[in-house]
Amino acid sequence: MTIRSQLVIFASVITLAGGALWLRAQEARGPVFRTRVDLVVLSFTVTDSKNKYITGLKPGDFKILEDGIGEKISTFAEGSNPPVQVNDDGSVRPLLADGTGAPKPGIDPRSDAFVGTNVFVLFDTSNFMYRGFVYAEDAIADFIRGLDRADSIAVYSFSRNLSRASDLTRERGDAIVGLRQAVAGDDTALYNSLLLTLRDASKVPGRKVVIVFSNGPDNASMVAPDDVRAVAEDEGIPIYVISTNEVNKDPISSSVFRRITARTGGKAYWAKTWQKQVEAFESIREDLGNSYTVTYYPAPNPNEGFRKISVEIVSDVGKKYRIHARPGYRPRT
């Protein structure tokens, strides 16, 4: 592969999921140049019949299909390991050395920019959460401490409005300081805030997930959960929800949580007690550490609507495994 094509892939990974290149410095004034790249990011986990994670699989073990059309994997990563570039023959090579020595304009030159996951925690501080507020903070703080060193974390809180308590950082202490500064609020605009969190997450290069910590009822959002889910689906951002309510107490919230997590490749947990919350976070952390992330450029496909994604394991033994991935996405128009 030529240096030029390496650069193309490097730039493409920066813009992951066809997202816009975020040139913060340019936002202040003057024209903003955006690059559209139809690169799809897909994260998934593989488990066996006992729900144990299967790790150590290689790019060649997977077949990715979009509406039944086979796709060629561009990059591949397992857990928090750095992604590798997948060659035409299925071999892999390190992705990050661009060979020129000079960083490209607007591209973060850090070699580990794409290592680990960017985790956005969205913490409900509305009055519905008043009683469990401090226990929730403890559980989130524990989760932050236990994240892989390569992961970055942002802590947002919300009630009627979103509050960016701590921007994306690898400094666990900063994130916890932000978390501990959260203030109890009033109304709950969960889906408005989730939307804004997804918008922030979509501007960040690399793999990202959003973890919502809430008890469910929303009384102030303007946007519908499924409109927000569509944004997550299209941006390739899995949503995890930890509900502090019991599953049967609020069936409407429960069914929505199930829907938005399943459709984006995340999971929903019902954890009323602190112990259950800790367990839920542990499970999410395991998901992050044991998941695979691939990127690919979709093959020509006339379907401009929802495209169904399926991930298969090529080998016979793999047929017994369960693959948990988002079911599809809607291409940008």
Binding site: R131, D138, R160, V183, A184, L195, N219, A220, V223, P251
Partner: protein, 1130 residues
């Protein structure tokens, strides 16, 4: 200006001009509007010739005229250069300007030095300036108490902004206790504390424990993880250590109640945890915080309370004390002191609610009460109250105790006004008559009893009433119309007594009296709303409305009243067209098929909304407006089927485009967007293109079918009827777009769906569109003209959406998250609404907030309130910079509205500079007021027309003490502007030597029509849909309103006129072209909203702080860019 142009100017000046030539040339450049080049030239000239007195002076004056922060430094250089020459004539004006700028900068010593130099150089004004004493303000009447721990922690728990000063803390706390601290008890009639107040008490208790732990030096010190007091600290804050001391230690909750207080009050828990993990000392300053108490704590506490505990606990436990504290803190120091001395505290406490709501305008000067109407009305006030105003405090004592607050509310409403209407209302005979009407026979409950003031209607009436040149009230139409309304009351009875008395009405005063009488009722005051709406329609018309038209408008108001702003915005609409509009709306309302009715109403309203925008933006000339509206409406008479509707929509669109000057209508969507973005021929193509691009993005997100495509399809269908062939590409374009229209979010479960209350017809509208198979329909139709007409009718729902989407895109708030996320937001506009509620013509409302009731919020009703509803929908997407942002509600939509409805394409540089230079002149006047008593008197009088007495007096005292920066800090941009206008008119004797004043006069001489009161009001005013029934931007010179019951806080928000004036001044200072305001103001406004950190709805200083912070950020950014540009040049 581009760097290359600046360089060219620079080169030209440096190589060709010298000395006075530069000054002349710079003046010419400035006069031509090229301020940047003028400034660059002068800057270069003074750099090259540092001793050139003329260039230095001219440069300094130019900087001053544009409010540049470097002007003082420039004047200093000029001063030093002149000093060397010994030219006294040139030194005097420079020393004078410098003295004023010194004071504005807060440098009193330098100011004294320059005043002395000014006098030494022959300056004659400002004799006897000896210096200034420190402002004592109200501090002499205050004592101090302490709350435990840092103020910011207490503030967080008590919902008070962190930047509240010790002086302002107790009033803010009192307000929160009054409004949020107590609720009716479930078990008996007493009040019980709310959760908010319980938390404040619990916090105080915890803070006292921490204070004890902090010991004598009031600093919490934990030396190491295993220190003895570490455990005690953790117990107090409700946490414990998990894991042994060292890197594994983690703090976890052990007592949730205490832990909540700890975290919610902002205790540095994370830092404590970190210190324990690293085994380093933890220190936390826990000194108690001083809080100033009006008159000292002893005034407020009973003997028992003095013995038993802390002031703050007694304060929190007594809502009546808080109410009185709030009331007294709103008064000016002189008045409050008089009341305190004269009226015993228990009596004041008993009427604290009246004092709180209606005492703000009370003023006692030299022992006498200032009353509205002045000397002419004083004896009437004396008779009404029972005590002469000459008795000052005794007068107000009686006033607050009178009739449960009705008279005080009238006093308050009349005190807020200025001008001929005030003269009319305070005429002694009328005043008594109107008072009796508002008072009624049964006075209880009074207007100060509810949570918000219930005299909203009276405030509205007194603010918007019109009087003619003869001082008589203007009654639209004729007296008969209003008699008829009260006697026959077509939509329900108003008042039996008034119905009887109406038959005998002979005078306009009779109508006004009836309106006053209705103002006291707590029910919906429809007659007043009708009167206000119709008066506003009549207000700017060259010929008043005919009585028959008024009668029609009055009778139709109940259903169609929300539409009247259309006629108000465009006063050239004829009576005939108004009647035509009402006929049309009634005819649409009679349509039996709800789907066709919704599409017809939507299409017509969308076209009228476009017409309204084009008229407001000047794309349709006033003399063409009437014909255009009549032309748009006419085809709707013929609408019986979808095909007729499509025809009417298309004809209306083409007519609007042509009237607005778009000669080429082959690409109607592109032309429409050009016009919506301001004009078809923009003066600033970049700004214009940006606005168009933003609208296109919204249309794309909403999957809107282009008007161009729809019209092409229609033309094609018509051609098929004449034997043409099907164009598959064209049909596919529509089909492809239709496939992108998503289902309404029907993934809701049965339970969720059961929560639906309305929206059936909206869902049906979207479903119908999705199911359309145009190709099959065309094939079925063949060449049969009738069937082809039916096929054309299938496009009608799409045309409705397309036309409606233009208004949505035009008024889209900054960010527009809803429009970008919910692709059915425009299609989901519900023109039918709840059955039987006549939503079709009502104001736009936001329904379905909070997802369980709907698949996302949607807008219901007509398009008349669309801008506000969109802003309301978007406000919660703004991310506050501070975690506790309390000034939200109705204020933010109004701020967004003021940034989106007015457009500044036609604003001239002279108009923008006019505003900017006036605000600078006001600051200069304030500096001069610190030196000169006469100027101070004049300025304070001008300010008092808009500011409340308490603030006016405080500013006067600050000026007296020479603290000009503090005084300026307390004046709003609107007050600065209006005060400057007044001061300039009065200062006829001031010489042309003052560069700012000279600039104002030059602007007036050269651009009289551009800078007329009306033109500036139109250019930099704000829309006030509730107050004026219009979206036309206007400056009303209002004193900021309080929150009023019945209108939420919309009227209050509309009384804030400062933002646009401030932005105009800022843009002038930065030499931005006026067209850029169209792009900059929405962005700046969004930032202002995000930075507001207020404690209550009327916290205007918080808004002012945010405004200034954004302004400072913008200035800093501009300075940075200028530095970079300069570096690039070098």
């Amino acid at each position: 200006m581009k760097v290359s142009s600046v360089a060219a100017v620079l080169l030209f000046f440096l190589t060709t001009l010298r000395g006075s030539d530069v000054v002349d040339r710079a003046r010419q450049l400035e006069a031509s509007g090229d301020v940047v080049s003028a400034r660059t030239a002068l800057a270069a000239a003074v750099e090259q010739a540092p001793g050139d007195v003329d260039a230095l002076t001219e440069y300094a004056a130019l900087l001053e005229r544009y409010g540049d922060g470097d002007s003082r430094a420039a004047y200093t250089k000029a001063y030093e250069a002149i000093e060397k020459t010994g030219n006294r004539a040139k030194l005097a004006p420079v020393a004078r300007e410098l003295a004023l700028l010194d004071l504005i900068a807060g440098d009193r010593a330098a100011a004294l030095k320059h005043i002395e130099a000014y006098h030494a150089a022959g300056g004659t004004d400002w004799p006897n300036v000896a210096g200034w004493k420190t402002a004592e303000a109200a501090s002499e009447a205050r004592g101090v108490v302490y709350v435990p721990g840092p103020l910011r922690s207490f503030g967080r728990m008590a919902a008070i902004p962190v930047d509240t000063s010790p002086d302002e803390l107790l009033p803010a706390l009192a307000r929160n206790v009054v409004t949020n601290g107590y609720q009716a008890s479930h078990s008996n009639e007493s009040l019980e504390q709310t959760e908010y107040l319980k938390l404040v008490h619990r916090y105080l208790s915890q803070a006292r424990e921490l204070e004890d732990l902090a010991g004598k030096d009031k600093v919490i010190r934990i030396e190491s993880c295993d220190s003895a007091n570490a455990g005690e600290l953790l117990r107090i804050v409700g946490y414990r250590m998990r894991g042994g001391c060292g890197s594994e230690v983690v703090l976890e909750t052990v007592n949730a109640t205490r832990a909540f207080l700890t975290t919610d009050s902002g205790f540095p828990l994370a830092q404590l945890e970190q210190a324990l993990r690293t085994n380093r000392p933890f220190t936390y300053d826990f000194h108690p915080s001083p809080v100033r108490v009006l008159y000292g704590p002893d005034y407020w506490l009973s003997e028992k309370e003095k013995q038993s505990g802390e002031f703050i606990d007694a304060f929190l436990s007594d809502p009546a004390m808080c109410r009185l504290y709030l009331g007294l803190s709103k008064l000016d120091a002189e008045t409050a002191e008089e009341l305190r001395k004269t009226i015993p505290m228990p009596r004041l406490k008993a009427y604290a609610h009246v004092l709180d709501f209606f005492g703000t305008m009370f003023e006692i000067r030299n022992g006498k009460a200032i009353v509205p109407g002045g000397a002419r009305s004083a004896s009437s006030w004396g008779e009404l109250v029972g005590v002469s105003p000459d008795q000052g405090a005794a007068f107000f004592d009686k006033l607050i105790a009178k009739d449960d607050g009705w008279m005080a509310s009238l006093f308050d409403a009349l005190s807020r006004m200025n001008g001929p209407v005030k003269d009319y209302l305070t005429e002694p005979g009328r005043m008594k008559r109107f008072y009796m009407a508002i008072r009624g026979r049964v006075t209880s409950p009074g207007p100060a009893r509810p949570v918000f003031r219930s005299n909203a209607d009276m405030m509205l009436l007194t603010t918007r009433l019109r009087v003619d040149a003869n001082g008589r009230a203007v009654i639209p139409g004729s007296l008969e119309v209003w008699k008829n309304l009260f006697i026959n009351h077509p939509n329900g009875k108003y008042d039996g007594k008034l119905t009887k008395s109406a038959a005998g009405w002979k005078d306009p005063d009779d109508v006004v009296e009836a309106l006053f009488a209705l103002c006291r009722k707590s029910v919906e005051n429809e007659p007043l709303k009708i009167f206000m709406a119709v008066s506003d329609v009549d207000r700017f018309r060259e010929r008043p409305l005919e009585a028959a038209t008024v009668d029609r408008l009055v009778r139709a108001y109940h259903v169609y009243g929300a539409q009247y702003s259309i006629f108000n915005d465009v006063p050239t609409v004829s009576d005939k067209t108004i009647v035509q509009f009402l006929d049309e709306t009634e005819s649409i309302s009679r349509m039996k098929d709800p789907a066709l009715r919704a599409d017809t109403a939507g299409t017509m309203q969308a076209l009228v909304a476009l017409w309204q925008i084009f008229c407001l933006q000047g794309s349709i000339a006033p003399n063409q407006a009437d014909a255009a509206l009549a032309g748009v409406l006419a085809p709707f008479t013929q609408v019986h089927h979808d095909a007729d509707l499509f025809e009417a929509g298309k004809a209306g669109s083409v007519l609007l485009l042509k009237t607005a000057g778009a000669s080429d209508v082959s690409a109607p969507q592109e032309r429409l967007l050009d016009l919506l973005a301001g004009t078809a021929n923009p003066v600033d193509p970049d700004a214009h293109a940006q606005v168009v691009q933003e609208m296109n993005r919204i249309l794309e997100a909403q999957r809107i079918i282009s008007l161009t495509t729809l019209f092409q399809l229609d033309d094609h269908l018509q051609s098929l009827g004449h034997g043409g062939k099907i164009d598959p590409a064209l049909i596919n374009r529509l089909t492809s777009r239709i496939s992108e229209i998503q289902l309404p979010r029907s993934s809701l479960t049965t339970v969720e769906k059961n929560a639906f209350a309305f929206g059936y017809w909206t869902e049906k509208h979207v479903e119908t569109e999705r199911k359309l198979n145009l190709r099959a329909a065309v094939e079925r139709a063949g060449t049969d003209p009738e069937k082809i007409k039916e096929v054309r009718g299938l496009l009608a729902p799409f045309l409705r959406d397309t036309l409606v989407s233009y208004s949505y895109a035009h008024y889209a708030p900054p960010g527009a998250q809803v429009l970008y996320t919910n692709p059915l937001f425009v299609r989901g506009h519900d023109f039918i609404g709840v059955q039987g509620a006549y939503h079709t013509w009502k104001n736009t409302e936001l329904f379905g907030t909070g997802w369980p009731s709907n698949g996302g919020g949607r807008l219901v009703g007509s398009l008349s309130g669309l801008p506000y509803a969109l802003a309301e929908a978007e406000q919660n997407f703004l991310v506050p910079a501070q975690t506790q942002a309390l000034i939200w509600g109705d204020l933010v939509p109004q701020l967004i509205l003021s940034a989106k409805i007015p457009r500044w394409w036609d604003v001239t540089p002279a108009q923008m500079h006019w505003v900017g230079v006036h605000m600078r002149y006001a600051r200069e006047c304030m500096a001069e007021a610190a030196i000169d008593a006469e100027t101070r008197k004049a300025f304070v009088e001008a300010l008092g027309r808009h500011a409340y007495p308490a603030r006016t007096l405080l500013i006067e005292r600050l000026l007296e003490s020479g603290d000009v920066p503090e005084a300026i800090e307390r004046v709003t941009p609107a007050e600065l502007y209006f005060a400057a206008l007044r001061m300039e008119r009065q200062q006829t004797n001031k010489g042309e030597a003052d560069p700012v004043l000279a600039d104002i006069r030059q602007l007036r001489a050269k651009h009289a029509s551009e800078v007329s009161e009306r033109a500036v009001s139109r250019a930099f005013g704000t829309p006030k849909p509730t107050l004026t029934n219009s979206y036309r931007p206007e400056l009303l010179e209002l004193r900021t309103f309080p929150t009023l019951m019945g209108y939420s806080s919309r009227i209050m928000a509309e009384s804030w006129e400062s933002n646009t004036l401030y932005w105009a001044g800022l843009a002038d200072e930065l030499h931005e072209p006026p067209a850029q305001l169209n792009v900059l103001i929405p962005v700046w406004t969004e930032k202002v909203v995000e930075h507001i950190f207020a404690s209550h709805l009327e916290d205007w200083p918080a808004l002012l702080r945010s405004l200034r912070q954004v302004g400072d950020d913008v200035r800093a950014q501009a300075k940075l860019q200028a530095g970079e540009a300069k570096a690039a040049l070098q």
